[in-house]
Symmetry: C2
Subunit: 220 residues, 2 copies
Amino acid sequence: MSVEPLPNIDRSTLRERVLRALRSAITSGAYRPGDHLGEVELAGRLGVSRGTVREALRHLQQEGLVTAGHRGMLRVNTLSAEEIRGLFRVRAALEGLAVTEIIARPDRSAAVAALRAAVDELAGAGEDFAAKVEADLGFHVRLCELSGNPMLVESWRHLEGRIRVTIMNRDPEEAPAMMTPGRHAPIIEAIERGDLPGALAVVEEHMAAAADHFTSTPAR
Amino acid sequence: MSVEPLPNIDRSTLRERVLRALRSAITSGAYRPGDHLGEVELAGRLGVSRGTVREALRHLQQEGLVTAGHRGMLRVNTLSAEEIRGLFRVRAALEGLAVTEIIARPDRSAAVAALRAAVDELAGAGEDFAAKVEADLGFHVRLCELSGNPMLVESWRHLEGRIRVTIMNRDPEEAPAMMTPGRHAPIIEAIERGDLPGALAVVEEHMAAAADHFTSTPAR
DNA sequence: CTCCCTCCGACTGTCGACAGACTACCTGCC
DNA sequence: GGCAGGTAGTCTGTCGACAGTCGGAGGGAG
């Protein structure tokens, strides 16, 4: 009998695929903040039933990507400057916990190597804006994952949608300044030194700078 | 024309009411961790359609109260000891941010008064286990709310379901030791003194003790 | 010209039904 | 007696339809 590799069968439900499609459409900027997301229109455009779209939209609502407006109508979420500042303070707290746990772990050097690889991806993204965003967020997710605390990852991911709309709502010309290897390297170095206070301060400063950036840069 | 007070009309959707009913049923212990939650059975018991129950269940899944088992079947979530420890470390990080922001605010004394009121509720709960749980969680939610950072509250609430199943999965005879006014007062005192490092240490210790408690106490 | 009433269109809320997939059991053959 | 194959039962996945509610356009009365 043949042992040829068979293609992996996609076992995801239709709802999951619709969810990914909608999330991607929003975070890629195809839908602008404030845009109305009608169930019938989306269902027709995606070729699925309303119920399926509805479940995906409800999921995105809990993620904070879309928000309920008048009469339950859903719109792409818009974050105020104050919300953005709060969001990045929460991120600082979560990622501060991440570096705390990483430094406390015995395999710290492995984590450092993984983080360096993530920064390399960021450097290799070149001028591709979308790739830069993915690499930047990839670094921070990796940071949380390396803590070995799944609940921390879960909490961070709960904020991910809001982070993405914040980034995508800004002028792509302005954003790259935040997503450079140079802004992430100090975090790794502090972890490598085992310098917990220093690492916390760097993370704090990183997030404060990002919050400043996204609240001062004009929305596109 | 009469200005008599009219009763408030409940504008919540059926889905929201089902959601609250299910959440309450789980966190009150009516359903035990691991119990299967069938859509048809719940729909029949609640007298609503499957779709409505389904949406509520999906919401609870995102909250972490229920988890998908084999073939998409949902069950009441069970947290491992490791997950509980991670959960309380994330809580410590979030509530640490809360006290940080409270201490930085100009109206710190108002926050102190509000927190004292919350502790009084805890003291007044007497021996009623459910009331104690509500008062305890009420204190910690209040703590987050008083930070003035809605995103922080949102993140905390995202963990609330998991916190509740952790509490309710323990023997009610053992739990009250964690939920005393004496365990919460030091947090308030440190905030009142404006002692940020002290407040952080107290929160950290509070959460570590809770995690120890819930991972050493036998599941009922 | 303005205001009010009515009708129409659009959107979400809720429901019942069909289909697909997996389990467990049961039967018949070796 | 054991195993392969078939077969009912049960659960979720997905769909289409009906109903309720709101906003706005349009027409008629003052």
